[in-house]
Symmetry: none
Subunit: 259 residues, 2 copies
DNA sequence: ATTGTTTGGTTGTCTATACAAGTTGCTATA
DNA sequence: TATAGCAACTTGTATAGACAACCAAACAAT
């Protein structure tokens, strides 16, 4: 039984061929895809190899298998996504939209008591309060009211915050590394200021995101309340559903939470 | 060579066991994971079965394999725990609130074209349409309009869906295992039906969550559009902020997305 | 000491076979 | 005519064995 594993494995070559065929439309959308045994014959390889190739196509959303019935070509690819938080700037760039921002306010202030509480600040620590309106292709999309810890924000304070991602500036010009963010999402309706800044009607539904960002050593870097135009931007999250209850580490799950 | 494929396949059981061990910390982070042959011995199954189980762990980011060297436990199980999708019932239980539901509608229907498309259904496949209002301590909190794939939902169709978590019923009474969910969150304002069912004023801001749940072999189990009272429930997500750009598999990220 | 070579481990690929589980349609029977 | 059951297909799971590709460390030769 001579088997030589080539540089590019067979199953991958077959995958590529099949993918090309699917893209070319050799099988209509929703149509039947050749069965394992058929493919075994046409490619003269073992069934395992075929299944390896088909599995790739399934993982990428091109095919769906149904036991007993067959394999079928899907209609359209579903978008995967990681749950990495990327900045608005990068996000817009990915969609080919030019991001910009307009700074409405920027000053160093003594934090209000509620802000001090949520950011866990001690007595003398000051914050930078920034209000920005963010645009995608000149259209106002987001109002951003954020508070940054002064000591960490200082190095980039005088940089161009209208055309750059704050995250990126922090990453490139300081040694601060961000840990993780906790975000809460609520729904509100546009009031006076929102409708004016976003140029929308009063009463339009909006998404309010309250965001806490910590550094990798646990201190709060930013707290912000961002208001999003819901007709233009939606949030997508990806979660792992119910498996079983092994509260291995007893971490509190709170996908949703009461007020 | 007698082989009986059990209701829950061996490779999946092994996967669950190994996952539990990893979560429990039996192998230190970054440490060596047992080799295929070792696992073959301890579980007394064939290598193919082991590799199937390990592949699942790799796909979910718990392990990394390196040819010639070995298999290793990854460092951060990024949020994997905290973003587990739990059902409403469990959630309420955690907060000491008694959850219940009222079924407004439940019937088997031919899916509408748009539903068929988003769920990627083939011609004859039917769905179960369920509309529920979910209560926490007798107070209406959520309207849930979901479509379940009939073939998978059938086993629990006649069970008590008013006092039980559907996820839990599925897990306990069927062999279906859920893979992951993609959720989109938007803001809307209450219309006639929402205000009536949730007993709130017209125009109240609400959260609309569109949710796609797949099984672990990629078929869609559920599509639902849930409306949440935003004054009582908010969504919390946890994300990893800006690090650096390694686009793991070149998949398009869309944390947020334009319409 | 440095450079090859071997050796034994690892993961990666591939084959061949077998049976389980689910779907569909045909057929014999009541 | 209806239906129960069989047969032939599909995908899903599992085994056993073989060899390739790669790695690291021990060993041998220069």
């Amino acid at each position: 039984m001579n088997v030589q594993a080539p540089l590019i494995p067979k199953y991958y070559q077959i995958y590529e061929e099949l993918l090309a065929m699917i893209r070319r439309g050799d099988f209509g959308e929703g149509d039947r895809f050749p069965s394992d045994t058929e493919l075994v014959k046409t490619f003269t390889v073992s069934r395992g190899t075929i299944r390896e190739a088909v599995k790739l196509l399934i993982q990428q959303g091109y095919l769906v298998r149904e036991q007993g019935k067959g394999t079928f070509v899907t209609y359209q690819k579903i978008t995967q996504d990681s749950d990495k938080l990327i900045g608005f700037t990068e996000l817009m760039a990915q969609n080919g939209i030019k991001a910009s921002a307009k700074i409405i306010e920027q000053k160093v202030v003594e934090p209000a008591p509620n802000i001090r509480q949520v950011m866990n600040l001690s007595e003398g620590q000051k914050v930078v309060r920034i209000v920005r309106v963010r645009y995608g292709d000149k259209e106002p999309l987001i109002i951003e009211r954020s508070f940054f810890l002064l000591s960490l924000f200082e190095p980039i304070m005088n940089m161009d915050l209208e055309n750059n991602s704050i995250f990126e500036l922090i990453y490139k010009h300081t040694t601060t590394r961000l840990g993780f963010a906790v975000q809460r999402i609520e729904a509100i309706v546009a009031g006076q200021s929102e409708s004016k800044l976003l140029k929308i009607d009063l009463g339009t539904p909006l998404l309010l995101m309250k965001r806490f960002i910590q550094t990798n050593n646990g201190t709060y870097f930013q707290y912000s309340e961002d208001v999003y135009r819901s007709d233009r931007i939606t949030f997508t999250t990806k979660t792992v559903p119910y498996e079983e209850h092994h509260d291995s580490l007893g971490l509190p799950l709170d996908l949703m939470k009461n007020d």
